[in-house]
Symmetry: C2
Subunit: 410 residues, 2 copies
């Protein structure tokens, strides 16, 4: 037993790359037995996630696939699909991110799988909802960012559309998928009924962006344009100091007036442009321009000390490198060195949140090699050595061939 | 009864601005009775979220506070704190985002509240975990973005640190808080025990960013630097066409080779720089530079038709305005005109996800006016008219005074 609130829950994860693996890793971290079903060539992220110590174990793959087991099944084959259905009969949750036609071809639709297990929670991560004209279209993080206003937000700042330099849509929608799966598990705990969930990336990210930037067009007729001016202002950024940058966020009158006093301009609290939340909102350019010039005389460390004393919310600006050395992260133990059986020592990103009664699982399963648990899982589900050999021998051949076609990751 | 999987769950929401309200709105959308406890001056977002039809009903406030009821309590007063504790005795979930000292002063720590209700799930949204040196520091979205590598990701693209032009940290951590609350509710359904949850923004966003951009420093010793080069490349953006932009995301060999063929360069599939996932990753600048020039000869609509036919993942680039007119969003009904009792017609952003068995709540509660439900809620909890009058009379006076100080939002 792994321990954790989801101990005893079995998840069959047919998803790949980021959106699905983010979701199932949360379930795995809290105790679910997540069986990651991979095609013979493996999850694309094994290669797409960069160089690795041994082939197909890219860093990004490692960060989204701990605490899971890898089962290779070639779902183009009838026997492999039969195996999958037999595992589904004993699973609690299935997560898929294939398109509709592929699901139908493989016999992996919700109807197919809930026919063998009516308590099953079937979660489909789709690019687009099935009730609209984009239903058939494929989706990846960037095209979702570009089509839902994420890139438009950057265009409002800089003039040119650009993607947020993170797989933000995948990552955010993965978090939302967890909500929906937990909601269905909670419901099932009360009613005994499984469920079918659809989580479309496009609709989710459109809602995410529009909640902020529909802004004055929320009202009918509109009270003004789209885009929150405080957020899309080009000066909404870390402020330059004598030796670098600092992050300051003064929002209430009390904080802003303390900021004005700290930078030597206490009289600005009476300036009609800056004397209230609404006044500053209506004069956001002037306010931000003032801020961007106000801190150049002292170092970041000096300002941090002053702002800490005067209760002005402020934090150091971190690069990726300095973040890894941050003293707070070190003390809370977010990053821990773990020994991966094949990759050697790696930094594992721990769980940021705590539950007092029932926390995370007690053990730690390193991110799996491709097909590492194929034999174990099939044996657990009652397959004989002969059956396992038939299934795995063929799969390994296919895997080798594809590996060559894609090239090694070193 | 509201219906929905969380029907019967009572949430006392003491949070404000975005991170908490995002979380509690999800609970409300799925049927929980969310009582939003506001100070006499109201949630800061009522003003900070922009202009409104009537005072203190900014668009951003509307999008994060539907399906909730507003109860004004001045928690500086003993009698108000007593009311709060008596409601907590009958609540399932409490959400707070105050700092430690304020919680202690108000008698709202986990220990205080679980003393009156051991089944209570107490969720504290903190800026920083309590086990590290930043525990006492205040947090807002931008300083979390700047200190967790979000601003650094943009610096890696453009040279200058900048915030993502969305309240991304608040919004993402709010989604994560929902996960933790649902996990605790699920656990309670099985064990009968409440729990205490801590969700620190800094640690959560550091984990979010580092999972992507720790990259080759994941390995000890490092295999290279931080930052996924595919993601932080300046050409990772919607591609210019003859009349605008288009979002294209070709990742597998099949998709990329179809893209090469569609743009009239089928021979590139044999180019050693571009012939495999790994080759393109190692030559990402050359690959992205090629893409950024390849589509200038035709219109976006022409390319969309070609890519759709050839199975190259592509979508139109949307501005905020064109997104609101998108035919898919229209057909799935994500944006719906609703009549707000005081604000008139507004666009409500619907729920992007579907659960077949048990979906969202059946009714729709418009985002509340400040203190709209104070009387009803207090009456429900057994307070007499005289007691309610005493509590509300004083609160209304304070509210009026603060409203004047901050100015009207029009």
């Amino acid at each position: 037993m792994s321990g954790g609130p989801l101990s005893g829950i079995r998840v069959l994860d047919l998803s790949s790359v980021v959106v699905g693996p983010v979701a199932t890793q949360f379930l795995a971290d809290y105790g679910a037995d997540v069986i990651k079903v991979e095609p013979p060539e493996g999850d694309l992220l094994r290669k797409l996630g960069g160089a690795s110590v041994t082939p197909d174990m890219a860093s990004k793959f490692l960060h989204f696939n701990r605490n899971k087991r890898s089962l290779v099944l070639d779902l183009k084959r009838d026997d492999a699909r039969g195996v999958l259905r037999s595992i589904c009969a004993e699973a609690d949750v299935v997560v898929v991110n294939m398109r509709g036609k592929a699901l139908q071809r493989s016999g992996l639709t919700c109807e197919d799988l809930r026919a063998v297990n009516e308590r099953l929670i079937y979660c489909r991560l789709a690019g687009f909802g099935q009730a609209g004209p984009y239903a058939h279209k494929p989706a990846y993080d960037t095209i979702i960012q570009g089509s839902t206003g994420v890139a438009a937000a950057l265009a409002r700042v800089n003039g040119t559309p650009a993607y947020v330099p993170m797989v933000m849509a995948d990552h955010v929608v993965g978090l939302i998928a967890v909500q929906m799966i937990l909601l269905a598990l909670y419901q099932r705990a009360r009613t005994g009924l499984g469920d079918s969930i659809e989580v479309p990336m496009f609709e989710n990210m459109a809602a995410f962006v529009m909640a902020e930037h529909m802004y004055l067009r929320t009202f009918i007729p509109p009270l003004g344009g789209t885009g929150d001016p405080r957020i899309i202002d080009p000066e909404s950024r870390p402020l330059p100091t004598r030796d670098g940058y600092i992050c300051v966020s003064a929002n209430t009158d009390q904080q802003v007036f303390a900021f004005f006093a700290a930078v030597g301009c206490p009289e600005l609290k009476s300036d009609p442009r800056f004397c209230s939340v609404v006044a500053r909102l209506n004069n956001v350019r002037a306010y931000f321009d003032f801020r961007s010039q106000a801190l150049r005389s002292r170092t970041t460390a000096e300002w941090l000390e002053i702002f800490d004393r005067d209760s002005v919310p402020a934090m150091p600006y971190h690069t990726f490198e300095s973040l890894m050395e941050d003293p707070h992260l070190r003390d809370v133990g977010l990053l821990r060195e773990v020994e991966h059986p094949s990759e050697g020592p790696i930094w594992n990103i721990g769980l940021p949140n705590t539950l007092k009664q029932g926390g995370a699982r007690e053990d730690y399963l390193p991110p799996p090699k491709l097909g590492e648990h194929t034999h174990d899982v099939l044996e657990e589900f009652g397959y004989s050595q002969a059956e396992i050999s038939r299934l795995t021998a063929a799969s390994e051949r296919t895997s080798g061939a594809t590996g060559t076609r894609e090239g090694s990751s070193r």
